[in-house]
Symmetry: C2
Subunit: 381 residues, 2 copies
DNA sequence: CCTCCGGATGAAAACGTTTTCATAAAACGC
DNA sequence: GCGTTTTATGAAAACGTTTTCATCCGGAGG
């Protein structure tokens, strides 16, 4: 044979590779002495097969090390078993809980998670719709925080029901009919601003997120609502664009500080920008919260160990993930999940980055005690 | 017909759903007046088809909105087009760059990324191997930082060559033969410790990561190497277990502070633990770096805006991701990629969390100027 | 004009499952 | 024991591609 002519290595490598990949249901059937239908049944509905044959088949499977070819199975079933999750970037702490929720349900229901990062490629909603149509995934969850889906998306707006759910996010107005699971960002921001007003602050700045994201725009609206409802009214100069980034938030903070009457409190549209804001305040020799109070949004894993620990709005991230996934699965199964957003509860968690406004603007050193005014230390320890 | 007996809604819903999912290559072929082989060729090797037919087929595709069924294609080709990436949890800032690198190459080469979080399920290397065998993915990248693959893994140790590459990570000794792409953690930790020694510190604590991860154990070894090489020698009491978590690092810091002679510098096995360490130091009314210097590892996105900005070891994360992915693709294509780790360069970036040791232990207030001693402000601004 | 060659195309097999349908065997009621 | 139902199994179709192989056609070379 030709093999004896070649060197031994080739022969050995051939042997080592081939058998693993060639073991199919056919070989198992032959060894067990049954038909392939029976083997298939043993795997998918073992209660419909006799005990003795089941044992024989299982023995054959063990002997051969057979593992069903998922490619063939999914092809036959017409399902990918994949959920595409679109997010801006793996590595943003906020999404940790949401992903845990999604993953938990996915695992339970036999789905795997496909990740697409919008940071690396411009996000077009239509692309994701096409991936469902071309059977690359069974459904889509969109978490991408800055999500400027530019085109109005032929698919999403048509009545071809592509299973899509937004987690936390709210895209543009035209796409508002896509179902979502999230907190009421506007009301949450309203309440956080109210809290600052209650502390006596009158000049309250706002660092907004991405212009293209309804999510942060809702938070901006909530802030404006609260200001409008107060005796102070809105002041456009106090609203700055933090661009959903560390650098942007630092610029925004500098801009607020350069005002003739700089704010004594700043509400940031997310924790990361709050972090950057505090950093910039300190660099300008201002103390938090003695000189300026800061409130964030999200309660990421670092909020509690910042200096000072951050007062922020908590979202039940894991619950959001779970409910988003369940809602998507409903859609995949063909049920009508409607268009209305599903709201989950938010909560303001008061830590040490906020304090009552200083009546005497100069005396910043003797108010360290206000840090404990809300007794929030217990929440951290 | 039965349809006229039912209500209209059923009828309409049927119509709205059916046409999208039933358009296959057959329909396109019929409309274009060619065979399905030709349609397939138009998609996969258009240069092998005549211009006129190509145009006809493309018209038919446009008309029907046909999208090739990826399930069928992958099945036929025997490739999933998926890379499974195993990480502890989405949301850990360090992995952001690595994932960007992986994603970039994946997109270039036509692969998608499947995520598996070990936080939600106990990680067993064998499970991932099986998923390759059962064609759920073409290869595996392991990033999971705490990766206690308990069983010695029948597959990975056998000569069945499952394409697996470790990014950054190094698993247990038995699995050391799995190829990896990473920095030389031991040497990096050695150098970071040396830097603290050069600053005059003599009592240098170390907060270790997860016991089960070679990655952080290597960093521990590097620290011990440096101490051993110095005149001071090793002191086991200065090595504490931070457990790769915020809570663990806080406990570890408290433990170090409770020593009769507490350290004047602490080297943490990653940035997150450094963050927690600094938080705990401040809570104990110690200043960083005046009372205690702190060094981290990873240079995550928050390292530069912490208070104080963190001195830490930078890894070229994106490069690691890219090279990990490329190496995996080589393995998938059947090439022999060997076992030796591929090393990338690290770098110590000095910010403001480190300062020369205080000669007079009491005077902590007048050394603020040391913050600027290394001129690192430029790196942040 | 015949032959040969190369390019374009079509027919059909193949990929590994699941699932339908038919059949054989067993169990059951009378 | 006979007809009827239930249960267990096998044969074969089907899923939508890609790919091999054969065929057809037109043109070049003799």
């Amino acid at each position: 044979m030709a093999l004896t002519l070649g060197n031994e290595n080739v022969f050995i490598r051939r042997l080592a590779r081939a058998p693993i990949y060639t073991v199919s249901i056919k070989k198992v059937a032959k060894i067990a002495g049954v038909s392939i239908s029976t083997v298939s049944r043993c795997l998918n509905s073992p209660e419909r097969v006799r005990d003795t044959t089941l044992a024989a088949v299982q023995a054959a499977i063990a002997q051969t090390g057979y593992a069903p070819n998922a490619l063939a199975r999914n092809f036959r079933r017409g399902k990918t078993g994949l959920i595409m999750v679109v997010l801006q970037s793996v590595g943003l702490p906020f999404w940790e809980g949401v992903m845990r929720g999604i993953n938990g349900v996915a695992q339970e229901e036999g789905y795997s998670i496909l990740i697409r990062e919008t940071a690396s490629s411009p996000p077009e909603l239509d692309d994701y719709c096409k991936m469902v149509i071309s059977k690359e995934a069974d459904g889509v969850i969109i978490l991408a925080s800055p999500s400027p889906f530019s085109t109005p998306s032929a698919y999403a707006t048509s009545d071809r029901r592509i299973p899509i759910v937004l987690g936390c996010e709210n895209v543009t107005d035209e796409l508002a009919h896509i179902p979502s699971v999230r907190v009421d960002n506007r009301r949450a921001a309203f309440e956080a601003t109210q809290y600052l007003l209650q502390l006596g602050h009158e000049r309250i700045g706002f660092i907004a997120g991405s212009r293209s994201s309804l999510l942060t725009r809702d938070r901006e609206r909530g802030y404006l609502d609260a200001m409008q409802a107060s005796a102070l009214g809105q002041n456009r100069a106090w609203v700055t664009n933090g661009d959903q980034s560390i650098e942007g938030a630092r610029r925004a903070t500098r801009k607020l500080l350069s005002l003739a009457e700089p704010p004594t409190a700043i509400f940031c549209a997310n924790d990361e920008m709050a972090m950057a804001c505090i950093y910039e305040l300190k660099r300008n020799n201002l103390s938090v919260p003695q000189d300026v109070s800061v409130v964030g949004f999200d309660d990421t894993r670092y909020a509690a160990i910042m200096d000072p620990p951050l007062t922020t709005v908590v979202q039940p991230t894991e619950e959001i993930g779970e409910r988003t996934m369940r809602r998507l699965l409903s859609a995949i199964e063909g049920r009508d999940i409607g268009q209305a957003p599903e709201f989950v509860e938010h909560r303001l968690i008061v830590r040490e980055s906020t304090a009552p406004r200083q009546t005497a603007p100069g005396s910043t050193q003797d108010v360290g005690s206000t840090q404990d005014v809300d007794g929030s230390r217990q929440q951290i320890a």
